[in-house]
Symmetry: C2
Subunit: 342 residues, 2 copies
DNA sequence: TTGAAAGCGCTAACAG
DNA sequence: CTGTTAGCGCTTTCAA
């Protein structure tokens, strides 16, 4: 065991109460005493036990964050921002990786429940019910997800979402303006709220512009998954694809390259997030930009000052680069888009 | 506050001690009683306080992990593996992002010290001294870093490293066999132990094969940094580059593409880690493969069974793909490698 | 300004 | 098998 406050108090010739006050910077202790206690504490390499302190104060000083997949590069800047913002206020982060599993996520919530002051659920795969129940035990910040309209919203629940509609609508308008009459959406995880959200918005936007709309699923929202299905989409007659995120789009780009479909000549590709470093995608990816860091900052704010009970949202906008272009061969045989070389 | 064990005990008509025993699955309680306690606990939605339990047992059930940059895609599979392995044994993970700063890392160690059973320091930027001191307070697993030979090794310290030498040597031999007579190493963070390690090994290997060796630094070990310096290297007469990691290599590839230097025609590029999904790099990247997940598994093992005090290591091997090729124009003007188009 | 004492929620002897 | 008792290390009344 390490040094306890009792030892410090003894060594400094004061009571534990006084030592406690001195260490916590209370004004109810005369300066000379404080100095002495502090010096002794330093000499003894004393670190106060958070556990004991938490037990009596009821505050732990850390917040839990649960994400579906720590391997997903969208979440790491989110976490980094959350951590640096919160860390400045000396709160620690307990990070849980739910691995896209509801059971695992629930287990993590359970496990964290007694050692955090608040919980951030990012892209949660839990049911509305489970979330409401959690929010009954401690403050919850729901990120990139909104509760159904029918459930009673608990007081201790904040929602931080991505306002995807403007960006996504701009994307559809952009494609429409380029002469595309159809759109394929390469979807994300089945349980994902934001995937459903994107589906809905795209569907509506396409309907309004009289474009046909198709949804195709992927196993996981990553490069490999995009690459797996990208080829089939490119050769199936699709002229424009919007993907769940940039990783998937990158995979589609790679697939197109593999089979010799030109982008944007043969097919236009639009990603989501703008999470890729400049120059990584070839051609440069047109995408619905949305800052993961901003999402993290907003989430942190929702914890620090739970004043604003209204739903916060980070904005999105279309960033047009080189992966989208005019729809040239509307009536041509899809196979014609495949270069002879392939 | 939530339900306490005292309330459960009262409702079940037993003492707290019995309730505690029933809940912790002790065999010293008759089955009927246990059932009753368990039922009541479930009804009251009771979750035992980890804090209180930890305070008395001295065990927290969580381990801390500190990494220099959570945004670095090498660490996320490492974390994922660590978490899933450890999580199976019901231990929680406290993750700290040191942001490449020694001060911040030390602060995290301090903060975690009273709420973890062990600490994993990955690619630590701390001084040997600080690490030894930490290991004096609780078990430490040092990952991708080794203490200097002169410091007294504490008992509670395990080292898990990457055995980079075989892979890196194979890389140099590979280039030598291809006719390259010089090698440029694009280095990682200044404080990084593994960067120094790579420098040393490459230098030695080059000397042995009578190849000239140059080291160039980057700001951060990521794509953007690689892209920034990649162009200068490609046009400066270098015929072969080994990078600190795959992200940097990817940046170099992008830079070469930008300025029109062919890979491997104009320059050969070798990465480290093999962390990129298949098909991401164009051309496919020759790399010194090393599994971050294996590193995570080994680290987890070092915590679960601290039996093996010997240094564990994950192996590396050269994976030859398409980014390395014969050194064609040994005497030609470097500028000649730049395509006319650029 | 300081100290003594109570207690946060739980576990672990020790009796019964 | 079960209850009583004593703390784990700290904060916080309440007195002095």
């Amino acid at each position: 065991m390490s040094t306890t406050m009792r030892q410090v108090a003894a060594a400094a010739g004061v009571s534990v109460a006084t030592a406690s006050r001195a260490l916590s910077g209370s004004s109810l202790v005369v300066d000379a005493t404080r100095q002495r206690v502090l010096r002794v504490a330093a000499e003894l390499d004393f670190t106060p036990s958070r556990l004991a302190r938490s037990l009596v104060t009821g505050l732990t000083g850390n917040v839990g964050v649960i994400i579906p997949d720590i391997t997903n590069p969208f979440f790491t800047p989110f976490l980094a921002e959350l951590e640096s913002t919160l860390g400045a206020g000396d709160v620690g982060l307990l990070i849980g990786n739910a691995q896209e599993s509801r059971e695992r996520e629930q287990a993590l919530v359970q496990r964290m429940s007694t050692q955090v002051d608040a919980l951030v659920l990012a892209s949660s795969r839990l049911s509305d019910d489970q979330i409401v129940r959690a929010a009954g035990r401690f403050p919850v910040v729901l990120v990139n997800r909104r509760l159904g309209a029918d459930v009673g919203r608990p007081v201790a629940l904040a929602e931080v979402v991505i306002d995807i509609e403007p960006g996504l609508r701009a994307a559809v308008r952009h494609l429409h303006g380029l002469g595309h009459t159809e759109l394929t959406y390469l979807d994300g995880p089945a349980q994902s709220w934001s995937a459903a959200q994107k589906r809905t918005v795209l569907n509506r936007a396409c309907t309004e512009l009289e474009m046909s709309f198709t949804v195709t699923g992927t196993a996981r929202p990553d490069f490999a998954a995009g690459r797996e299905v990208g080829g089939a989409i490119a050769t199936s007659g699709a002229s424009a694809v919007v993907t769940y995120n940039d990783q998937v789009a990158l995979g589609v780009l790679a697939a197109c390259y593999d089979i010799g479909v030109e982008v944007p000549g043969g097919i236009s590709v639009i990603g989501c997030d703008d999470s890729l470093p400049t120059g990584l995608a070839r051609p440069a990816l047109t995408t619905v930009a949305c800052s993961a860091r901003a999402l993290g900052a907003l989430s942190a704010a929702a914890i620090v000052e739970p004043t604003t009970r209204c739903a916060d949202a980070v904005s999105t906008r279309l960033v047009i680069r080189k992966s989208t272009g005019a729809h040239l061969s509307a009536t041509a045989n899809p196979a014609a888009r495949v270069r002879a070389a392939s």
